[in-house]
C-alpha cells in the first residue's frame, strides 16, 4: 500500500477470525483484533478444528490466530537432485489470501485458513541468538515461502516487529517477498539496512489471468520503485515461469516495465524458476481453477518426482530471460531456483555445482550490496 493511495484493506476479504483459546490474552493477538475491529471472532480449541480438504476449502477469508509449536526457522525444503539456494524460511504464518492458480500451498498444508503464529516473538529470541552466535555465516532469511510476506501486513503488522530485529544484524538479511503493493508499513518504518523487498513477477498475461487477488504487474513495480526510491534493496523472482502463447513477448514486456521504473544496480538478485509441482497438485488446480492455462505445458516427471517442463523448454526459458535481463544490466545477480547443474551451465554460462556453491554466490551478493 503506497501512502497517499487508497487500496482495499485485508479486512475487505477477512470475514471471520478464529482465536485459539491460549492466544486470546497475548498482546500481539490483541493488536491484530484491534486492527480488525468489527470482524466476527470465534474462540476455538485448535485440536477440534477441521483439517483442510477440497471439500472444506482453503479458508482464505478466515484469519486464525494460534500458537505454533514447531520450528520457526527452517531451511527451504529444496528438492533432491537439483541445486537449492540455501534460503532459510522464517515461518510466521501459513497460507495466503491471494489465489494464484499455480500455488503449491494448495497441496502443501492440510490446515485451512490464514494462520498467524502469535507466539513468534518468544521463538525469535532463540533464532536471533543462533544468528549472533555464528557471525561468520550469512543468514538469508525470508517469510515469503509459506505465505505472501506483505499481503496481510496491514493487519498483522509483522514487518514492524521484524525490521528492527534484522536491520541491526550484520550477518543476516531479511527478504520480504510479495505479489502485492502493501508496502506502507515498510516505508514508514525507518529501517532499510539488511532488508530486501522482493516481488514475484510474471508475464502480464499470467499476472492478470492466473494470479487472482494479486496486485497488477504495474502496481507491483510501482511499489518496488517507491521502495527503491526510499532506500530499500530490491529483488525479483520470475517464478514460476509459465509457457503460454507469446511467452517471449510477455516476459520481455515485464522486463521493459521493470526497466521503466527500477534501477538495476539496486537489485540484489533475480531468480528464475520454471513452473514445477507435486503431481497431486494437478487435480486440485483443475478443480479450483478449471480455466487455468498453467497445466497446458509439456510436463515430465523430474528427478525429484515433481512435474517439470521438458528440459529444452526450460533451457529456452532461462536462456531467453538471461539474455534480456543481462541486456538490461550486466550483473543482475541471476540465479536458477531448483535446477540441475547441466541446466545451469547451458543457460547461465556457469554453474555453482552444488547447493553450497549457490549459497556462496548469494552470500557474496549480500556482502557486495550491503557492504
Amino acid at each position: 500500500m503506497i501512502p497517499g493511495k487508497r487500496y482495499p484493506m485485508p479486512d475487505h476479504f477477512i470475514k471471520k477470525i478464529l482465536l485459539d483459546e491460549n492466544t486470546s490474552g497475548h498482546p500481539y493477538a490483541r493488536a491484530i483484533l484491534k486492527r480488525l475491529a468489527g470482524t466476527p471472532v470465534r474462540k476455538i480449541h485448535m485440536d477440534k478444528e477441521k483439517r483442510y480438504s477440497a471439500e472444506t476449502g482453503m479458508g482464505k477469508d478466515t484469519l486464525h490466530l494460534l500458537n505454533y509449536q514447531g520450528d520457526f526457522l527452517k531451511p527451504c525444503p529444496g528438492t533432491r537432485n537439483y541445486i537449492c539456494c540455501g534460503y532459510q524460511i522464517l515461518n510466521l504464518a501459513t497460507n495466503c489470501p491471494l489465489n494464484c492458480s499455480y500455488c503449491i500451498l494448495q497441496a502443501y498444508f492440510n490446515r485451512p485458513n490464514l494462520n498467524i503464529f502469535i507466539n513468534f516473538n518468544e521463538k525469535l529470541i532463540e533464532i536471533l541468538k543462533d544468528i549472533d552466535s555464528t557471525p561468520d555465516r550469512i543468514f538469508r532469511i525470508g517469510t515469503g515461502e509459506f505465505t505472501d510476506s506483505l499481503a496481510l501486513d496491514p493487519v498483522t503488522g509483522l514487518s514492524e516487529y521484524l525490521l528492527p530485529l534484522f536491520s541491526t544484524r550484520k550477518n543476516a538479511v531479511l527478504e520480504l517477498k510479495t505479489k502485492t503493493d502493501r508496502v506502507g508499513k515498510l516505508l514508514t518504518s525507518g529501517y532499510r539496512d539488511r532488508i530486501v523487498v522482493s516481488w514475484s513477477l510474471n508475464s502480464p498475461y499470467i499476472c492478470s489471468r492466473e494470479e487472482h487477488g494479486a496486485a497488477s504487474l504495474k502496481q507491483r513495480l510501482e511499489a518496488a520503485r517507491i521502495c527503491q526510491e526510499e532506500g530499500f534493496v530490491l529483488a525479483f523472482h520470475f517464478d514460476p515461469i509459465i509457457h503460454h502463447d507469446n511467452w517471449r513477448e510477455g516476459y520481455l514486456r515485464t522486463i521493459e516495465l521493470m526497466d521503466a521504473r527500477i534501477k538495476p544496480e539496486g537489485i540484489i538478485w533475480i531468480s528464475l524458476g520454471a513452473f514445477r509441482f507435486m503431481p497431486e497438485l494437478k487435480s486440485l488446480i483443475r478443480k479450483r481453477h478449471p480455466d487455468t492455462c498453467v497445466l497446458d505445458g509439456e510436463f515430465i516427471v523430474g528427478l525429484d518426482g515433481k512435474m517439470r517442463y521438458f528440459k529444452p523448454i526450460r533451457l529456452e526459458f532461462y536462456s531467453y530471460m538471461r539474455e534480456n535481463l543481462e541486456k538490461w544490466h550486466k550483473n543482475p545477480g541471476l540465479y536458477l531456483c531448483m535446477e540441475s547443474d547441466d541446466i545451469w551451465s547451458k543457460t547461465m554460462g556457469w554453474s555453482p555445482g552444488t547447493s553450497t556453491g549457490l549459497s556462496r554466490f548469494l552470500d557474496a551478493r549480500v556482502r557486495e550490496i550491503f557492504q
Partner: protein
C-alpha cells in the same frame, strides 16, 4: 457402533412373490449386477436352505431385508409363493445391518454395492461412524474423498457405467475421473474403454491425456475421440485391440507432448544411424531429464570387448550423437 441384538423373526411363512418389493432401490438392498442363474440352479437342485427375510412396508407389501438374490432366483424358477421370515418392528438400521452382516459372511461386494451400502448407512449413522466402523469393514480407506466417490457412484444415472464399475471393467481410479465428467462424455469414454478392453494403467493414461488435450485445445473429449486420426484407429479392421490401444495412446501422447515425442523419435533415429557392434546399446534417461546417456556393452571376454571398443572408435557417426533438440553442430 450399533448393536445388532437378536432378530426374533417368526418361522417362515409363504408370501406371494408379487407382494415383495424387490427393486434395486429397496431400503436395504445391497445387490447389483448379479446373475441369478447359478443360484436358481442350486435352489432347484437342493431347495431353499435359508429363507429370505422381509419387513412389512405398511401397504400389504414387503421390503426385502435379506435375500434379494434368492428372491430373484426363485422368480426365475417361476415360484409364485416363497417361504420368508417376516420381521416386524425391527428398526431400519438393524434391518440394514442384518443384511450387511448376512452378505459379508458369504461374499465380497463390488464397488456399486459398496456405494449402495454406504449411502443407505449414511441415512442412519454419522459420517464419523461410517469412517470408523463401516468403511474398514468394507475394506475401504476411511477418507473423505473415498466416501465422496462411493456416494457419487450411487447417484450415477447411467446403468452401463455402473455395470462397468461393478464388473471392474473400469478401474477405481479411472471411474473416479469418469464420474467427474459430463454425462455424454463419460458414456463415450466408458464405451471406448469397454470396447477395446483398456487395462488399468492404459485407462488412466487415456483419460489423463484426453483431459489435458481437452483443456489445452479447448475441444470436448468426444470431439477429440472423433478426430480423424483416432477415429480411423478405432474403426480399423487391420489392428487388434492391443494394437489399437497402443496406436490411440501414441497419437494422444504426440498431441499432448509434441516436443518430447519428437525428441524421443529423433534420438532413436540418431542411435539407429550408428553402426553399433552387436550387443552394444545406447540408452537415454527417462524424459531426457538426467544429464548424459548410457552405453551398455555386452561381452563374454576381454578379446571381444577389445574388438567392440575398436569398432566403436571407428564409428564416425558417434560424434553426431547429441541432445536431440540441439542443432547439428557445424563441421
Amino acid at each position: 457402533m450399533t448393536k445388532m441384538g437378536s432378530i426374533a423373526g417368526d418361522s417362515p411363512r409363504k408370501v406371494d412373490i408379487r407382494n415383495i418389493d424387490d427393486g434395486p432401490g429397496g431400503p436395504y438392498c445391497m445387490s447389483f449386477n448379479f446373475d441369478p442363474g447359478p443360484l436358481a440352479d442350486a435352489i432347484r437342485r437342493a431347495g431353499l436352505i435359508n429363507s429370505p427375510v422381509l419387513k412389512e412396508n405398511g401397504q400389504d407389501k414387503f421390503d426385502v431385508v435379506a435375500g434379494y438374490r434368492r428372491i430373484h432366483a426363485m422368480k426365475l424358477l417361476g415360484w409364485n409363493k416363497i417361504p420368508c421370515r417376516i420381521v416386524s418392528g425391527l428398526p431400519p438400521l438393524k434391518c440394514l445391518l442384518l443384511n450387511l452382516y448376512d452378505n459379508l459372511s458369504v461374499r465380497t461386494f463390488n464397488d456399486v454395492e459398496k456405494a449402495m451400502i454406504l449411502n443407505r448407512l449414511l441415512t442412519w449413522v454419522s459420517k464419523e461412524e461410517l469412517f470408523k466402523v463401516y468403511m474398514p469393514l468394507l475394506g475401504l480407506p476411511s477418507h473423505e474423498p473415498v466416501l465422496k466417490y462411493y456416494l457419487r457412484i450411487e447417484s450415477e444415472p447411467d446403468e452401463d457405467i455402473r455395470k462397468a464399475i461393478a464388473d471392474g471393467v473400469v478401474c477405481t481410479r479411472a471411474a473416479r475421473m469418469l464420474l467427474e465428467m459430463d454425462g455424454h462424455v463419460k458414456s463415450r469414454l466408458c464405451d471406448l474403454i469397454q470396447s477395446l478392453k483398456f487395462n488399468t494403467n492404459y485407462q488412466i493414461q487415456l483419460i489423463e491425456l484426453l483431459i489435458d488435450i481437452s483443456h489445452k485445445e479447448k475441444r470436448s473429449i468426444p470431439d477429440i475421440i472423433d478426430s480423424p486420426g483416432l477415429k480411423d484407429i478405432i474403426a480399423s479392421d487391420r489392428m487388434n485391440n492391443p494394437q489399437k490401444i497402443n496406436a490411440i495412446l501414441g497419437t494422444l501422447r504426440s498431441r499432448r507432448f509434441p516436443r518430447l515425442v519428437q525428441a524421443e523419435e529423433r534420438f532413436k533415429q540418431m542411435v539407429c544411424r550408428l553402426d553399433l557392434p552387436e550387443g552394444v546399446s545406447i540408452r537415454r534417461p527417462p524424459f531426457f531429464e538426467a544429464p548424459g546417456y548410457r552405453m551398455e556393452v555386452f561381452f563374454e571376454n576381454g578379446k571381444e570387448l577389445e574388438r567392440k571398443i575398436e569398432h566403436l572408435l571407428h564409428e564416425k557417426n558417434l560424434a553426431t550423437l547429441r541432445d536431440p533438440w540441439e542443432k547439428i553442430p557445424h563441421a
